[in-house]
C-alpha cells in the first residue's frame, strides 16, 4: 500500500509515438485502453486465458494483460486500430465480415491480431495450424467455425 512508483515510457503504436508517465505496476492493456484511449483491444478475463487483449509487440503476439506497460518501453506495437488502411478494411478484416466470423465483436480485435501474427509468420497455414493459432483466444458467440473460415479465406 505504499506510494506507487511511476516511470516515464515511450511506445509507438500503429505509427504514433506516445510518451507517458505510468505506474510501474500498470498492465499494458490498461495503459493502452485507459491512458491512450485506444479502446479497440478488450479485456475478457483476469488470468491471461481469453486473448481479447492481444497485441503485436515488436513483432511478437502478446496478451497485453500479461505484460506491464513499463516492459513495453521503447516497443513498437500494433493493435486492431492499425489494421485498416483508412476506411479500407484489410483482407483479414473483410474476410471476417464476409464469413460472419463475429457476432458481438468483443473478441474480434484479439482474434484479428492472432490471425495477423499467424499469417505473417505462415502465409499459407494448414487447417490445424489455423485452429492452433486461435486457441489462445476465446469466443463465446460463434463457436469458432466461421472464424476459422475467415482466416482460411484470408490465407488464400
Amino acid at each position: 500500500m505504499s506510494a506507487t512508483t511511476e516511470r516515464s515510457i515511450t511506445v509507438t503504436i500503429n505509427g504514433t509515438t506516445y510518451e507517458r508517465e505510468v505506474e510501474a505496476r500498470k498492465l499494458l492493456i490498461h495503459f493502452v485502453r485507459d491512458d491512450l484511449d485506444l479502446t479497440g483491444s478488450h479485456i475478457g478475463c483476469d488470468t491471461g486465458n481469453c486473448g481479447a487483449c492481444s497485441l503485436i509487440v515488436d513483432g511478437t503476439l502478446v496478451k497485453s494483460c500479461m505484460m506491464l506497460a513499463v516492459q513495453a518501453d521503447g516497443a513498437t506495437i500494433e493493435s486492431v486500430e492499425g489494421l485498416a488502411d483508412g476506411d479500407e478494411l484489410n483482407k483479414l478484416q473483410a474476410a471476417f465480415r464476409e464469413h460472419h466470423a463475429l457476432q458481438c465483436g468483443y473478441c474480434t480485435p484479439g482474434m484479428l491480431m492472432s490471425a495477423t501474427a499467424l499469417l505473417r509468420a505462415n502465409p499459407h497455414p494448414s487447417d490445424d495450424e489455423i485452429k492452433k493459432s486461435l486457441q489462445g483466444n476465446i469466443c463465446r458467440c460463434t463457436g469458432y467455425w466461421n472464424i476459422f473460415e475467415a482466416v482460411k479465406a484470408a490465407s488464400e
Binding site: 505506474e23 478475463c45 458481438c104 467455425w145
Partner: protein, 821 residues
C-alpha cells in the same frame, strides 16, 4: 448512402425480389473489425471514479462490523458505500415470488449478513482501478460464520441453517402443475419406467465482456444516466425505480455495443443501484467494470435442477402416455429473476412429444451459492433435457430404437398448430423431417458398420439425438402462475422510423442487441417496404430510453427480436410508407394513393413516372418547407409503432394458456467415439438442423445456431460451476472453468427447414437459444455408446471424461431406473 453494404458472392441480388432472406453482410461489422465498437468500459467521463466491490469470503455469515475508515484514507480514494447506507437509502428490491420467497429482502449490498461467497458488501470508489482495489484491501469486516447449504436436496432438512430468516426457511417457491388424467394414463400403460434422480448442472454462458456501467447523476434534474451493458433495461428499471424511490424516467438507460449477453446480463440491477447511490453521494461519474472472477462468483448462474421420482407411463410400442416428476430448482442465495424459472419451463411442457398427461411438482429453494438468472435456453433447456433423457432411458429399457420412439411420439406436421396439454400453441414445424435431415448429415445409415469399425480400433461409438424447442416471445402473464398478485401480461416492443430533412431513413429500436445483428435485419425489413437499398437505411446502434423508442418489455432476451423487434420495425415502416403516399398525393395536387408507387428512393405517379418525389424532397417538405400544406394532412414522417403480440391472460388456477407465441425448433445429432481406457471422447460428426420460420438473414441465423451449439457442447463436456461443501466456488475463472477453444470444436454441419409461423407478421420465429440440443445430444450419444458396455444410463447433463470412465467401470454411477408391469 450510409455504409457500403454489399452482398456476399454466393448471393445474387438481381435474382432476388427482397432483401429479406439474403445474407446481407452486417452493418455492425465494419466498426467492430476496426476496434471502433463502443462497449461500456470504453466510455469515459471527466473526473470519474472507479468502483471496486469488496466481496464476501464466506458462503454464510453474520456481518458483525464493517470499518471503511482506513480505506477512505487511502490516497486516491473518493469514498465508499456500505450495506447500512444502502438499507437507509433504498427499499429492498421488489420480489416476483409469492410467499415465502416474497419475504426475501434483497439490497444492492449485503445488509447484516452474507449469503454466498462473492456477495458484494462494500463498494470503494477511487481515482484509478488500482487504487480502488488497494483500498478495498483496507476495508475491515468482522464475520460470524454460519454453516452453509450448498446442496439443494438438503436445503429443507431439519436443523439446517436458514438463509433468509424473513422467509422462514429455505423454501422459496412451490407449485404443482397437473394436466390430463395421470391415474388413467398410469392404469392404462403397459409399462411404468421409474427414474430415481436426474441432475441438470450449474453453468452459464460466460459472455466475454463482463458486466459494467458508467453512471452519471444530474443533480439539477435528479436524474441518472446509466450507460451499461444490461440487456433488459425494461426489467432493470422496474427493479431499480421503486427500490430507489424514484420515477422510472429518472433512470435513463443507454447501451451501444454489448459483448455478449445470453441472458446473463439481465440481473445487474443491484450493482447499478450501488453505482447510482455513489454517483449521487460522491458527485462524480462512477465507472464499474466487473472482473472475470467477480462475474463467475456472483452473476447469473444457470438454474441447477434435479428431477426426482420420475415415472413414465408408456406402452410396449413406445407410445408415451404421461409422466410425473418432482422438480427441485436451486435458486442460489437471492431471487434476482427467480422464481420465474419455476414457470418458464412450462412453455415446453411436453417437449416435442404428444404426451397428454403430465404432472410436475416444482420446488425452488435457496442455497448459499451465487444467485441464478436467465441463461440461454433459460429453464426450458433443463426441462427439455429432462424430456429427452426420458425418451432415451425409456428406449433403452424397452429396447426400442431411439429414432423410432421419437418419431412415434413427435407432434406431427399435420397436427400444427398444436395445442399442448397446458394450452401452449406450437405454431408450426416438421420435427420428423428435421430429424431425418440431421441423421442424414451424420451418416446415420451406416452407423452399424461404423460402430464395428470403431470397435476394431478399440473405440466405443455412440449416436445421440437432441431435440429442442426454442420458445420465443413470452406472454408475461405466465408470471401470475408464480404469483397471482403480479400485474404483468402480454409483451411489447417499439421501433420508430423517420425520414429526416435530407431524406435519410433513420430507424430506432428499443432492443439491446449483443451480437444478433439487429441493425442489419431491421434494415432488410425497412428496405423491402420502402423499395430502397439496405445501404439507404441507418439503424441507430443500441438503446437509449431518452429516444422514447422503448416499452415495458424492451430489451434483447428470450428469443424474440425476429418477432417483436422486427414486427415493430415493419409496423413503423408501413406507417411511414402510408405517410409518404399521403404527402406525395397532396404535393402532386390530390393524386390518390393507388395511383402512386415507391421506387428508386422516392415516390412517383405510376402512369407518369417523371412525376417523382425523392425521399429527400419528402423529408425537406415536412421538416423545413411545410407552408401551404393542407392543415389536416396528418403527416410527420416520424412514425412510432408498438408491436403487441396477440395473447390472453393465462388461467392461473389451471395453469393453462399460451405462454409463448412461437416455437422455433432445433434437432441435433452427434456421433462420438469413447476411449474406454480413459473415458475421453471425441465428437466425430455433428449436425444441427434449425427451423425458425422465415429467415430474414440466413447467415445470422446459422451464426446463432453455431454459437448456441458451441455453448451446449462446452456445457455438456466441461463447463460447471462447482462448489465445495463450504460454499467456495472452485471454477471462478477461465483457468478452472473450461470453455471450448478453437481446437475443441468438432466438425459441424448445419441444415434448415423453414415452416413460417402463422402467428407473426413476417412468418418469423424468435431463435438463438436452441442450443440446449447439444447437451441432450451428447448425453444421448454417451448413453448409446455405453449400451453394450455395462449399459449405464446418463444421469447428469455434464459428462466430463472422468464421469464417462466411472459409468463404464461402474454402471451404477448412472441413473437408477426400474421398470414395472
Amino acid at each position: 448512402m450510409t455504409s457500403s453494404t454489399t452482398i456476399t458472392p454466393e448471393q445474387v441480388i438481381e435474382a432476388q425480389e427482397t432483401w429479406k432472406g439474403q445474407n446481407v453482410p452486417r452493418k455492425e461489422d465494419r466498426r467492430l473489425v476496426q476496434g471502433q465498437g463502443v462497449f461500456v468500459d470504453d466510455v469515459k467521463r471527466h473526473g470519474m471514479g472507479y468502483l471496486h466491490f469488496v466481496r464476501s469470503p464466506y458462503a454464510h455469515a453474520h456481518i458483525t462490523s464493517i470499518d471503511v475508515s482506513a480505506a477512505e484514507q487511502h490516497p486516491g480514494v473518493y469514498g465508499t458505500l456500505t450495506g447500512e447506507e444502502v438499507a437507509a437509502l433504498t427499499d429492498p428490491f421488489f420480489q416476483i415470488a409469492s410467499v415465502p420467497g416474497a419475504n426475501v429482502k434483497d439490497y444492492a449490498l449485503a445488509v447484516g449478513k452474507v449469503r454466498y461467497v462473492g456477495e458484494a458488501i462494500v463498494a470503494v470508489v477511487a481515482e484509478t482501478r488500482e487504487a480502488a482495489r488497494d483500498a478495498s484491501e483496507l476495508v475491515e469486516i468482522e464475520y460470524e460464520p454460519l454453516d452453509a447449504i450448498t446442496d439443494a436436496r438438503h436445503a429443507q432438512d431439519d436443523g439446517v441453517p436458514t438463509i433468509h430468516e424473513d422467509a422462514g426457511g429455505n423454501l422459496m417457491w412451490h407449485g404443482v402443475y397437473e394436466w390430463g388424467d395421470l391415474d388413467a394414463a398410469f392404469a392404462e400403460a403397459d409399462k411404468v419406467v421409474k427414474i430415481d434422480e436426474l441432475h441438470f448442472h450449474r453453468f452459464n454462458s460466460t459472455p466475454l465482456e463482463c458486466d459494467g456501467a458508467l453512471v452519471e447523476f444530474n443533480r439539477g434534474m435528479g436524474q441518472w444516466t446509466i450507460t451499461t451493458n444490461n440487456q433488459f433495461p425494461g426489467f432493470a428499471v422496474i427493479m431499480m425505480g421503486p427500490a430507489m424511490k424514484v420515477g422510472l424516467d429518472k433512470l435513463r438507460f443507454v447501451t451501444q455495443d454489448i459483448g455478449g449477453g445470453f441472458g446473463n446480463k439481465i440481473t445487474s440491477h443491484p450493482q447499478l443501484v450501488a453505482c447510482c447511490l455513489l454517483a449521487r453521494k460522491l458527485n462524480r461519474p462512477i465507472q464499474w467494470t466487473e472482473w472475470r472472477t467477480d462475474f463467475h462468483l456472483s452473476m447469473s448462474h444457470g438454474n441447477e435442477r434435479w428431477f426426482h421420482e420420475t415415472e413414465v407411463a408408456v406402452n410396449n410400442d413406445g407410445t408415451l402416455l404421461g409422466f410425473r416428476t418432482k422438480a427441485l430448482d436451486d435458486a442460489g442465495a437471492y431471487l434476482r429473476y427467480e422464481p420465474l424459472g419455476g414457470v418458464i419451463w412450462a412453455q415446453v411442457t411436453p417437449g416435442m412429444y404428444k404426451w397428454k398427461n403430465i404432472r410436475v411438482d416444482f420446488t425452488q429453494v435457496a442455497t448459499n451459492k451465487a444467485p441464478v438468472s436467465p441463461n440461454r435456453g433459460y429453464s426450458r433447456m433443463q426441462h427439455l433435457w429432462f424430456t429427452e433423457r426420458i425418451i432415451d432411458i425409456v428406449a433403452h429399457e424397452l429396447e426400442l430404437d431411439p429414432v423410432e420412439i421419437r418419431k412415434r411420439n413427435y407432434v406431427r406436421v399435420e397436427d400444427m398448430p398444436y395445442t399442448t396439454p397446458n394450452g401452449c400453441v406450437y405454431d408450426s414445424g416438421d420435427y420428423a423431417q428435421m430429424l431425418d435431415i440431421a441423421l442424414g448429415l451424420v451418416d446415420y445409415q451406416n452407423v452399424a458398420k461404423r460402430r464395428s469399425e470403431a470397435e476394431s480400433r478399440g473405440k466405443l461409438l455412440g449416436v445421440g439425438i437432441g431435440s429442442t424447442l426454442d420458445s420465443g416471445t413470452n406472454n408475461f402473464g405466465q408470471s401470475r402462475m408464480i404469483n397471482p398478485e403480479l400485474q404483468f401480461s402480454g409483451n411489447n416492443e417499439v421501433a420508430t422510423v423517420k425520414l429526416d430533412i435530407f431524406g435519410e431513413i433513420v430507424v430506432t429500436l428499443g432492443t439491446t442487441p449483443q451480437g444478433q445483428g439487429h441493425e442489419t435485419t431491421a434494415a432488410q425489413v425497412v428496405a423491402d417496404i420502402l423499395k430502397c437499398s439496405v445501404d439507404d437505411v441507418f439503424v441507430r446502434a443500441g438503446h437509449d430510453s431518452y429516444w422514447n423508442s422503448h416499452a415495458g418489455f424492451s430489451g434483447t432476451y428470450a428469443s424474440q427480436f425476429a418477432v417483436t423487434g422486427l414486427s415493430a420495425v415493419k409496423g413503423a415502416t408501413e406507417m411511414l410508407r402510408e405517410e409518404i403516399f399521403k404527402l406525395a398525393g397532396a404535393v402532386f395536387g390530390g393524386v390518390p394513393a393507388e395511383a402512386l408507387e415507391l421506387a428508386d428512393g422516392g415516390i412517383r405517379i405510376k402512369e407518369s413516372p417523371e412525376a417523382f418525389l425523392p425521399f429527400m424532397a419528402c423529408g425537406a417538405i415536412i421538416n423545413a418547407n411545410n407552408a401551404g400544406l393542407p392543415e389536416d394532412l396528418g403527416v410527420t414522417l416520424n412514425c412510432r409503432y408498438v408491436y403487441r403480440p396477440p395473447f390472453d391472460v393465462p388461467d392461473v388456477e389451471k395453469k393453462y394458456g399460451n405462454l409463448t407465441l412461437t416455437y422455433a425448433t432445433q434437432i441435433h445429432a452427434a456421433v462420438i467415439e469413447i476411449d474406454p481406457e480413459t473415458g475421453h471422447y471425441d465428437i466425430v460428426d455433428y449436425a444441427a438442423v434449425d427451423d425458425c420460420g422465415k429467415r430474414i438473414n440466413p447467415q445470422i441465423v446459422e451464426g446463432q445456431v453455431m454459437g448456441a451449439t458451441a455453448q451446449a457442447l462446452g456445457a455438456a463436456t466441461h463447463e460447471q460451476f462447482v462448489y465445495d461443501e463450504d460454499g467456495n466456488l472452485l471454477t471462478p475463472n477461465f483457468y478452472d472453468y473450461h470453455v471450448p477453444h478453437a481446437l475443441d470444436m468438432p466438425p459441424l454441419q448445419t441444415g434448415f427447414v423453414e415452416t413460417p409461423s402463422p402467428f407473426t407478421p413476417l412468418g418469423t420465429k424468435g431463435m438463438g437459444e436452441g442450443g440446449g440440443a447439444g447437451i441432450h445430444a451428447v448425453c444421448s450419444a454417451v448413453q448409446d455408446a455405453l449400451r453394450n458396455h455395462g449399459g449405464a444410463l446418463v444421469y447428469d447433463s455434464c459428462n466430463p471424461y472422468h464421469r464417462v470412465w466411472e459409468m463404464l467401470n461402474d454402471p451404477s454411477t448412472g441413473a437408477r431406473v426400474e421398470v414395472t408391469r
